[in-house]
Point group: C2
Chain length 190, copies 2
């Protein structure tokens, strides 16, 4: 069964190329060549360039959110949220993840489709935490949707900032973002 291996190899090479050169600057020919197959193989496994990118993206999101959920072990919702935040910032320090999910994804898919996918992953996770924090009185119970968008978007800003930063700065920037977000959270207590 060569099929699965080829598909996995295509996904892998596509992940690297999309992250390195960006979506537009990467042709399916490039991906095929890197995998040592032809474009025919790509179209056999994926409906098109967009579908290939979506597959790459979904895998990144899935892995990242799994890491986040795994980290949030505390029983206190606020502690759990902070653990999750911390885990996310760690993830965001990996340039491939940040670049693909926060830079390339909106570019490639258009904002509409991008947000649809996010609903199932990052955005959905933020949504659950915000809800929990409101229920337990750590956040004022109002404008829930907007509050979720607010924090979701902050995470994206942090992700992008970390994605673009030099390795030497990452630790410091990570901590600065962490501090800003927790402070901002504090400003929103009832």
């Amino acid at each position: 069964m060569y099929s699965e291996a080829t598909r996995a190899a295509l996904l892998d090479e596509a992940t690297t190329l999309f992250a390195e050169r960006g979506y537009n600057a990467t042709s399916l020919e490039d991906v095929a060549a890197a995998t040592q197959v032809t474009r025919g193989a790509v179209y056999h496994h994926f409906a098109g360039k967009l579908a290939l990118f979506e597959a790459v993206l979904v895998e990144q999101e899935r892995a990242a959110m799994a890491a986040v959920e795994k980290a949030a072990t505390a029983s206190d919702p606020l502690d759990a949220a902070i653990q999750a935040l911390s885990a996310f910032l760690d993830k965001a320090c990996e340039p491939v993840y940040s670049k693909l999910c926060w830079q390339e994804a909106p570019t490639a898919l258009g904002h509409q489709r991008w947000k649809e996918i996010e609903e199932h992953y990052a955005y959905g996770v933020v949504e659950r935490f915000v809800e929990l924090l409101m229920e337990t009185g750590h956040l004022e119970r109002k404008a829930q949707e907007t509050t979720t968008q607010f924090f979701f978007w902050m995470l994206g800003g942090a992700g992008l900032a970390l994605a673009g930063a030099a390795d030497a700065d990452k630790r410091r920037l990570r901590d600065e973002w962490f501090d800003l977000m927790t402070r901002s959270l504090r400003g929103m207590r009832p």
Copy 2:
């Protein structure tokens, strides 16, 4: 002197089309046809598709930031910042501005070039306000760069949220974002 008029008409039609259909879905043929000229005219006035979009974008940014600066009349830095914020949110309620500057621009130009342009406009304005607020003790004086990015990004989130919202919800969402941002600012006092 037809030249200036043609250029202005091209810019105008391009603004509409890029905002309505997005950058990728708008061909230069579309823009030329809408202006009732040929693609030749487009290439006479602009170096290419990207240059045309940049011209459209810069005009939007210029107008928006002019409106923001004009609104910030208070002598107290915090009051002025809040006036500026309020003016920005008003601007963001205009779908053409929000869509072009916050959705299409990163898509079209790539993140790198987009941020370069923003430095001169929105980001630059936020930077000055943050600096002022830190100098006058309204914001804790640390992580200035990250704090700027934080607020800049927050404004982007608000812009996008408002860009995508139904007209009926805009007023409410505008106020919710305003509230969240001022609260978040409060959490960052020394």
